[in-house]
């Protein structure tokens, strides 16, 4: 009898919209990478649904957090090192490497990772770091654009973003049509898709801090991408993450760098305004 009444109680709570949950809070710890303290909590920008934006690092297990805090133990740094090699490698018909024009990335790329996506006047759309690399390769180096998620594309993106480690994310929405793209991205964020009928906000806004099965839901911030995931043993790009999330709602997912996902990248990156760039972050 007791069993039956328990079952009824669970069913009733499910019907009343209360999801059976183990609630947990993000940790109250500081992230220091090689002696530099990261901003993992920042006051939200105007118009943001939260009061405070939180880094995904605060939501992870102690071992995962420790791996990110030590740049030697962080396997994502293998990608960053590979990116540095690519930076100095001559490719394409112009006989140039990235370093031929941009010299030392430590100087020239500092702060870049905190400002993208930004407006690209030539293509009249926002451009993220992956697309900026491709643009440089095609227009200046006479090399081919990377295939989506090629190892070197992820490595280069991680290397460039890593030069802004610790710097707060700040986008410029005043240029070009950035505001219209921002609005488009926001609409995508709140649009439910798939057989599971979930929007980004269903998990990362409405259920932030709760558990979805064994996974602790964060705010879904973009500041640590490309991130190293133990799950796949490699770097994961932001566009790949979006596609994975949409796939998990059992919807068809848009192409990488499509207008839809580019707008979403812009909007989601804005939602992390003020957080430090953590690339390469480490996740489970």
């Amino acid at each position: 009898m007791k069993k039956i009444s328990l079952a009824i109680a669970i069913a009733a709570s499910a019907f009343s919209g209360l999801v059976f949950q183990a609630s947990a809070d993000p940790v109250d710890e500081k992230l220091v990478i090689d002696g530099q303290e990261m901003i993992t909590r920042a006051p939200a920008p105007e118009g943001h649904p939260f009061d405070e934006v939180l880094s995904g690092w605060l939501f992870r297990e102690a071992e995962t957090r420790a791996a990110e805090a030590d740049s030697f133990a962080n396997p994502g740094m293998l990608g960053v090192e590979r990116g540095e090699e690519v930076w100095n490698t001559v490719e394409g018909t112009a006989g140039k490497s990235c370093a031929s024009c941009h010299n030392d990335a430590v100087e020239s790329m500092k702060g870049v990772g905190a400002k993208f996506p930004k407006w690209d006047a030539d293509s009249k759309r926002p451009i993220d770091i992956e697309l900026q690399i491709d643009k440089c390769r095609v227009e200046n180096m006479g090399a081919e654009a990377y295939k989506f998620d090629a190892e070197d594309q992820k490595a280069m993106t991680a290397f460039i973003k890593h030069q802004s480690l610790g710097m707060p994310v700040k986008l410029d929405l005043s240029e070009g049509d950035m505001q219209a793209w921002f609005d488009k991205g926001k609409e995508t964020y709140y649009t439910r898709t798939g057989q599971l009928n979930l929007s980004c906000a269903s998990c990362h806004e409405g259920s932030m801090g709760k558990y979805i099965r064994a996974d602790h839901l964060s705010q879904g911030q973009a500041n640590g991408f490309p991130t190293y995931r133990f799950n796949t043993g490699g770097l994961v790009s932001i566009q790949n993450r979006f596609r994975g999330c949409i796939r998990d709602t059992r919807a068809e997912f848009p192409k990488a760098f499509s207008d839809e996902l580019l707008a979403l990248e812009l909007y989601v990156t804005w939602r992390g305004t003020g957080l430090s760039v953590e690339t390469p972050a480490v996740r489970q």
Binding site: A73, P75, L78, G233, G234
Partner: protein
């Protein structure tokens, strides 16, 4: 897969008897043999199956690895050194390749 690249971190100096921390990381896919490619054929196993660390020829740490170890295996362990010398780190691949790294430490 790109050629695996070992990285190790050993303090440059230590005092005699001090407990020092050694960290190692090697880039490797650690292909388990359980996965299939797009045509449904099994991808053959290729992992690093053994890791050893020696100090001046004497064993410090060693272990065997099995297919459940994830990509880019990371080991962190401690040692005491009584004299200056060289740590030698060796990783053994399923295909017979070995990857090594050496680091000197000065005991003051």
């Amino acid at each position: 897969m790109a050629t695996p690249k070992p990285r190790v971190k050993v303090p440059k100096t230590a005092t005699a008897g001090e407990v020092i921390v050694l960290k190692t990381l090697i880039s490797h896919d650690m292909e388990s043999g359980q996965r299939k490619d797009k045509e449904g054929k099994a991808i053959p196993r290729q992992i690093i199956n053994k890791f050893t660390c020696e100090f001046n020829g004497a064993p410090v740490f060693s272990c065997d690895m099995d297919p459940a170890i994830s990509a880019n295996p990371y080991f962190e362990f401690t040692a005491k050194v009584a004299e200056s010398g060289t740590f030698t780190f060796t990783w053994v691949d399923d295909d017979g390749s070995t990857y090594t790294d050496e680091q000197k430490i000065e005991v003051k």
